[in-house]
């Protein structure tokens, strides 16, 4: 592996490497100057991000800044062209998606991507099959109502219920990190706080780390301890969630139109 040196030769990118850990431990996930995109286009121009074990990080940025692409790249759905992603000390670059999932990263994509023709229970079982995990109790514990409706088709559930099912499906394999993209999109306001509370309880109970993309900044700040701002495909600023609440101008600067 001669390409070890990741020199910041992308001079114009004013990126702050947020690789920091109070205890001096190596982070669970460490993305270093990741370059990725679709076809000819580059979306991520050297994105760096670190997430500690059990840490909850929110990813904020304007539309098209590269939030979803970063999640997809971490998951191996978009190829890393330069830079590297380390998870639990091993490089994920060039690994197939299924192998990344098996290392302990779960992905709940935008739009949920359930299997609508399958039952609730079949959807949950599919979350564990590749891991030999037939115990669905993590999902039952997080969303008890799923058990009563386990024989219904996933496609017949409401938007909020489908989101809970998608999260349930992701946690059956007891992942160490969950990538969660816009979980509250298309969810009735009455259910938003319910889902947020379940997520909070879920992360606390399991010690699972979370990387959350969400437009609802209030919910994000209540769930996450740290926030990373992404702009034009690079993480440009990282700070504690409390600092964002104390300094609303940050939101203005990175999210304002």
């Amino acid at each position: 592996m001669p390409e070890k040196a990741h020199t910041p030769d992308e001079a114009p990118g004013p990126e702050k490497a947020p690789a920091r850990d109070a205890a001096g431990l190596a982070p669970l996930l460490h993305a270093q100057a990741v370059v990725a995109g679709y076809g000819q286009g580059v979306v991520l121009h050297g994105a760096s991000l670190a997430i500690g074990a059990g840490e909850r990080v929110g990813l904020l940025g304007r539309n098209g800044a590269g939030k979803t692409t970063l999640l997809r790249t971490l998951m191996g759905l978009v190829a890393i062209r330069d830079g590297d992603v380390e998870f639990d000390g091993a490089s994920l670059r060039g690994r197939p998606t299924f192998a990344i999932a098996q290392r302990g990263i779960a992905y709940v994509p935008q739009g949920r991507e359930l299997f609508p023709a399958f039952t609730v229970e079949q959807n949950l079982r599919l979350g564990g099959l590749a891991f030999g995990a037939s115990d669905l109790s993590p999902a039952w514990a997080a969303f008890p109502w799923l058990r009563e409706r386990r024989h219904e088709r996933a496609g017949s559930l409401s938007g909020g219920q489908q989101q809970q099912l998608a999260i349930g499906r992701a946690i059956v394999s007891r992942p160490r990190l969950m990538l969660l993209d816009e979980p509250l999109e298309g969810v009735q306001p009455s259910v938003v706080s319910e889902i947020a509370a379940s997520l909070d309880a879920l992360c606390s109970a399991s010690g699972m780390a979370l990387l959350l993309v969400e437009q609802n900044v209030d919910v994000m700040l209540s769930l996450c301890t740290r926030v990373a701002f992404i702009e034009r495909g690079a993480v440009v600023h990282g700070c504690d969630a409390a600092a964002v609440r104390a300094t609303p101008s940050l939101l203005e600067r990175y999210l304002g139109v």
Partner: protein, 287 residues
């Protein structure tokens, strides 16, 4: 009455063989989006495996056991060497597998000669069906194909492997995100579908003259079955095979095999015009 029974049994025979061939094609297409033009040749090679076993003194019975396994192994090899390199490009998969079908036909011609061969019927007696004598071997074929079809459906609808396969069919990227090794499933599915073709060829061999061109005669009606039945579910090609097989047998019996071809094609065109998604389009179905 007795003639009607014989015709019904003959039609069932043909329909069941067609179902085996069409099902193999359909699960490969469903999972991998690959149209395997060499599927007929896989069937033909199943027949030659029986021939080789017969000539080697192993007997036709062993040939029928070994043929699906040998053709499944061939399928595995083909998947690894050819199909996986082109499977994102539909037109290229058609060209590549069509080329493969030519290679397989010519290889068999080189090895066994272009002429036809025959193997003896392992069950040459007749059995009485409702007082009517009927070839025992044809009943054996029906029993084997029904068992294999039931097994295939059990595999796809009652096992974890089947659930995984249907999940990959429904949403391949998401399946990978759930840790499912879609490549391994591709290999398995291609081998399994090929094995079905090999079995179909093997059990048909004692009834037909075996030659390198044999595959096409089954591939065309199998494709028609899929077009008529649609790909709405794993069961859809079976409905198509029934429509195609019954029509073919009836017209061939009462008019002539030449007319049968014409009528089947016309019927297929009409049905596809009336039901563009197939006659067995997906209704509300809990799978």
């Amino acid at each position: 009455m007795s003639a009607a029974l014989t015709i019904a049994l003959d039609a069932s025979n043909y329909v069941l063989i067609l179902m085996l061939v069409a099902l193999g094609l359909a699960i490969i297409f469903g999972l991998m989006n690959v149209i395997n033009m060499a599927h007929g040749e896989f069937m033909m090679i199943g027949g030659y495996v029986v021939l080789v076993c017969h000539q080697a003194g192993l007997g036709v019975g062993w040939g029928m056991v070994l043929a699906p396994l040998a053709v499944a192994a061939l399928g595995l090899l083909v998947e690894e060497l050819v199909v996986r390199r082109v499977y994102t490009r539909l037109l290229d998969t058609i060209l590549a597998t069509w080329g493969l079908s030519l290679v397989l036909k010519q290889s068999i011609s080189l090895g066994f000669g272009p002429g036809s061969h025959s193997v003896p019927n392992p069950l040459p007696m007749a059995v009485s069906v409702l007082g009517q004598p009927y070839p025992a071997y044809r009943l054996f074929i029906m029993a084997v194909t029904v068992l294999v079809l039931v097994f295939t459906f059990w595999l796809f609808f009652r096992t974890d492997l089947g659930l995984t396969a249907r999940c990959v069919i429904a949403n391949r990227p998401m399946a990978a995100c759930l840790g499912i090794d879609t490549r391994r499933l591709d290999r398995f599915t291609f081998a399994f579908g090929s094995g079905l073709a090999g079995l179909a060829g093997a059990v048909m061999t004692p009834l037909v003259s075996l030659d390198p061109q044999m595959g096409l005669g089954f591939l065309v009606p199998a494709f028609l079955s899929i077009l008529v039945g649609g790909l709405g579910s794993v069961a859809a090609p079976l409905a198509g095979a029934t429509a195609v097989g019954v029509t073919d047998t009836l017209v061939a019996t009462f008019f002539s095999p030449v007319w049968a071809q014409g009528v089947v094609f016309t019927l297929a065109i009409v049905l596809i015009r009336l039901f563009p998604d197939g006659i067995a389009t997906r209704r509300r179905r809990v799978v």
